[in-house]
Each structure stands twice: as structure tokens, then as C-alpha cells.
């Protein structure tokens, strides 16, 4: 029951968030209804960043303590971060095609997000193909910390470069959105955050079961 608490909270929360985003939030005057993609696109981007930040923190803790649990958390967070960043890279072009008339342009924000995604897909591929898993864990912890340096670059890219991507509308330098839009945005963020935490917890437990299976295999062989 305790393990399913987050998912039990997520379902009604997400339903309410979708209602806020698709029905209650006002239609943006210039962008029209396609702006409603914003309410899932932006939270997915933030949670992708959060996932990669967790990879770096868990990797650092693994290097400091050597506890395998942190390594499992890093791998789980990387998978979930890649999932959310993939959703950003899918929803963004759908919105772009509608508003800019093209799916993709190689501007600083889009390109740096794509590079970020590639870095963490590379992390997962290296992990799954490691010949020496014990040594790979330490190397991947360092890789996760270095790759995380791209996160602030992606975030700041719209301020540092002239980009096709719109400027920030929330936060200290944001242009601002109406209170109803803000509610829809944070409702989606809260619902997806519950899912984010639940998925990392589930995947971490599953990785522990995988380690248990490897230990059992070794026991059977011996």
C-alpha cells in the first residue's frame, strides 16, 4: 500500500492538472490553443533537469561512500531523466511545427537539449555494455557529474544566445503568465513530480532485485 501511495496520489492529481491545462486555463491570444502544450512541455523539461541533477548527486555520494544503493539511484534517475527529456524533444517540435512552421531548428536551446539527451543516452548505453561493471560504476559516477554541467548551459542558453525558442515566462527573469496559467503549470508540475519520484523509487527497487538475481545465479553456479 505504502509503495503505491505516490501513484494513487498521482492519478487524481494528473486528472485535475489536465483539466486545468486543457479546460480552465485561458487561451493565449497570440499562440492560440497550441500554447496548452506549454503545461506539459515545461514541467517535463524541469523534471529532466532534476533527473540529471539526481544522477550527479547520487554519483557523488557513490564515489564518497561506495554504497551500491546510490549507484542504483543514479541509474534509475538517469532513465527517468531521459524519459522526461525525450518527452520534451517530442512535444517541443509538435508545438514548433504549429507556431514556427518547422519541427526543428539548430538554435542554442534546442541543440543543447539534444546534446544533453545524447549524453545521458550514452550513459545508459555505457552502463548496459560495461565489461567490468564494478569499475564502470565509478567511471559512470564521474561521467554523470561531468555531464550534469550541461544542465545550467541548457537552462541559460535562451539568455546567453539569440534563439528561436521563446524566453522564460516564469522565474525571476520570466515575462510572467496569468494566475490561471500559473495554476495549470504548477498543477502539472506537481503531478509529474509525484510520478518522477515514484518511477525513480520503483526502478531503484528493481535494480536491487536485478543484483539479487545475479547473486542467486552465482550461488547456483557454485
Amino acid at each position: 500500500m505504502k509503495r503505491n501511495l505516490l501513484i494513487a496520489l498521482f492519478l487524481p492529481m494528473m486528472t485535475w492538472a489536465l483539466y486545468q491545462a486543457l479546460v480552465l486555463a485561458p487561451t493565449e491570444q497570440q499562440l492560440g490553443d497550441s500554447q496548452r502544450i506549454f503545461y506539459v512541455h515545461v514541467p517535463c523539461a524541469w523534471l529532466g533537469f532534476a533527473g540529471f541533477l539526481v544522477v550527479a548527486i547520487a554519483g557523488g555520494l557513490f564515489l564518497a561512500t561506495g554504497r551500491e544503493r546510490y549507484d542504483r539511484v543514479a541509474q534509475a534517475a538517469c532513465e527517468v531523466g531521459v524519459l522526461f527529456t525525450t518527452l520534451v524533444l517530442v512535444t517541443g517540435p509538435i508545438w514548433a511545427k504549429n507556431d514556427w512552421g518547422l519541427f526543428w531548428t539548430w538554435d542554442a536551446r534546442l541543440t543543447s537539449t539534444f546534446v544533453l539527451w545524447l549524453l545521458y543516452v550514452g550513459y545508459l548505453m555505457l552502463r548496459s555494455n560495461a565489461v567490468d561493471p564494478v569499475r564502470a560504476r565509478k567511471l559512470l559516477a564521474v561521467y554523470g557529474i561531468i555531464a550534469c554541467l550541461n544542465v545550467p548551459f541548457v537552462y541559460m542558453s535562451i539568455m546567453w544566445f539569440r534563439t528561436q525558442h521563446p524566453a522564460a515566462v516564469v522565474g525571476p527573469r520570466g515575462g510572467g503568465i496569468s494566475p490561471e496559467m500559473r495554476v495549470a503549470l504548477y498543477a502539472n508540475l506537481a503531478a509529474l513530480l509525484l510520478l518522477f519520484v515514484d518511477l525513480i523509487a520503483r526502478r531503484t527497487r528493481l535494480l536491487a532485485v536485478e543484483d539479487e538475481l545475479l547473486a542467486l545465479c552465482a550461488e547456483v553456479e557454485s
Partner: protein, 55 residues
């Protein structure tokens, strides 16, 4: 922008998000089931019997 293209874009984006999450959750569930079966099988072997799930 026309209502039609806005509508299609919103439906496509939200479907992609829900579908992507559902796919990942179902893959986790499948992996969990397979691991459970394999562990039960190995435990059965270790106990000396033929207990556990067979593939």
C-alpha cells in the same frame, strides 16, 4: 493558426506524454514480472526441488 491545427497539435503532444509514460511503466512492470519468475526459479533450484516458476 486555425482551430484544427491547434487541436491536432495539443492532442498529439498530450498523447505523446501519456503514451511515453505508459510505455515506460509497462516496461518496468514486464521487467519486474520476469525478474520475479527467474528468482523464484533459481530459489527452487537452490532448495533442491523443482519449485518456482518455469519459463
Amino acid at each position: 493558426m486555425s482551430f484544427r491545427s491547434d487541436f491536432v497539435a495539443v492532442v498529439a503532444a498530450y498523447s505523446a506524454v501519456i503514451g511515453g509514460i505508459a510505455l515506460y511503466v509497462s516496461l518496468l512492470g514486464r521487467k519486474q514480472r520476469l525478474l520475479g519468475e527467474q528468482i523464484a526459479h533459481l530459489r527452487g533450484l537452490l532448495d533442491g526441488g523443482h519449485g518456482g516458476a518455469r519459463r
